[in-house]
């Protein structure tokens, strides 16, 4: 019967779409070099003031800043460091040196290191940011959790971008009087 045939075709199409949505993130997509997904992060010189760092964070809408000395990465300072070590604890912190508050010698990776390596280090170390440096330990950029999430979304657009604005709740609640 034509109607049953139509329904069977629709179910078959829906099944194909369901199977297609179960796509795996291919190995080459996880083993992408960090150099291709890192982003630029501003730097301050060792000895710069905490106020300089705060101004940069606000103007660049960024949560982590590099601290360098002789072009070499010395440390990173993030919003958490400001929260934990500065706010509510020090009277006049604005002119204090950032060196007192930064995380010294953070874990770094190279631009040829791969995304899955960064993910594992972040998971194990609890980091949100990993600086990317060259052979002379000069900072080239940063890989952050935010950018990894964005990268994953770029590779699963069908699964993410077609979502409704809010999860559909109680969608099957029975209508009254229909």
């Amino acid at each position: 019967m034509p109607f049953e045939s139509f329904v069977d075709d629709e179910i078959s199409t829906m099944q194909e779409q369901l199977n297609e949505s179960g796509r795996a993130l291919e190995t080459h997509e996880i083993q992408v070099p960090l150099g291709s997904i890192m982003h630029h992060v501003p730097s301050v010189l060792s000895g710069a003031s905490v106020q300089d760092v705060i101004n940069l964070m606000v103007s660049h809408d960024i949560g982590s800043i590099f601290v360098v000395s002789d072009e070499s990465l010395k440390g990173i300072i993030g919003e958490r460091d400001i929260l934990l070590k500065v706010l509510n604890k020090l009277g006049d912190y604005a002119n204090l040196s950032v060196d007192h508050f930064m995380k010294c010698d953070p874990l770094t990776l190279k631009p040829e290191d791969l995304l899955d390596t960064a993910i594992q280090h972040m998971a194990q170390g609890g980091f949100r940011h990993i600086p990317i440096v060259d052979d002379q330990h000069r900072p080239l950029g940063m890989v952050s959790v935010r950018h990894i999430i964005s990268y994953l979304i770029e590779h699963f657009p069908q699964e993410v971008l077609t979502l409704p604005p809010k999860p559909i709740r109680n969608a099957m609640r029975a209508r009254e009087g229909a």
Binding site: I54, E79, L87, D116, I119, A123, I149
Partner: protein, 142 residues
């Protein structure tokens, strides 16, 4: 890594408990709570939920504190949690799929998503680090 891991419910991320404070709490006390080092928060908390009559009404994040308090040189002793919070944050439930959290984090630039029950009472919070930790289980170890 199979995309279907992102379609699992958020409770698979093992969400943190929802630390929350009343909207009228002095900000200095809220900050002290965020700075407290515990076994669950070994580097303090990046966000604190704000409630009014037990219902979620806002969230205070470390970013809010840097931008709305420190950079503007405001005195935290003269402020309340309600004056600094981001009001009516995006929320999810523990049963929503993880991919919704990714969607919100990407488009909203959020690092924290509060979880609520059907009465809009906070039950937990998930972070972008929770997503990374979850995904790391499905890719090769270093």
């Amino acid at each position: 890594m199979d995309v279907r891991i992102l379609q699992e419910a958020i409770h698979h991320l093992d969400p943190h408990l929802a630390d929350h404070v009343n909207i009228e709490l002095p900000l200095a006390e809220a900050v002290a709570q965020m700075q407290e080092v515990t076994s669950e928060h070994q580097r303090g908390m990046g966000a604190l939920l704000v409630t009014q009559e037990d219902k979620l009404i806002g969230i205070i994040t470390e970013r809010d504190l840097v931008r709305r308090v420190i950079s503007q040189k405001r005195d935290i002793k003269r402020l309340t949690a309600g004056q600094v919070m981001t009001a009516q944050p995006e929320t999810l439930t523990a049963e929503d799929p993880i991919v919704f959290a990714l969607n919100l984090m990407h488009f909203g630039h959020y690092r924290h998503i509060p979880l609520v029950d059907e009465e809009n009472k906070p039950v937990g919070i998930i972070t972008s680090k929770d997503i990374i930790k979850y995904i790391s289980q499905f890719i090769k170890s270093i």
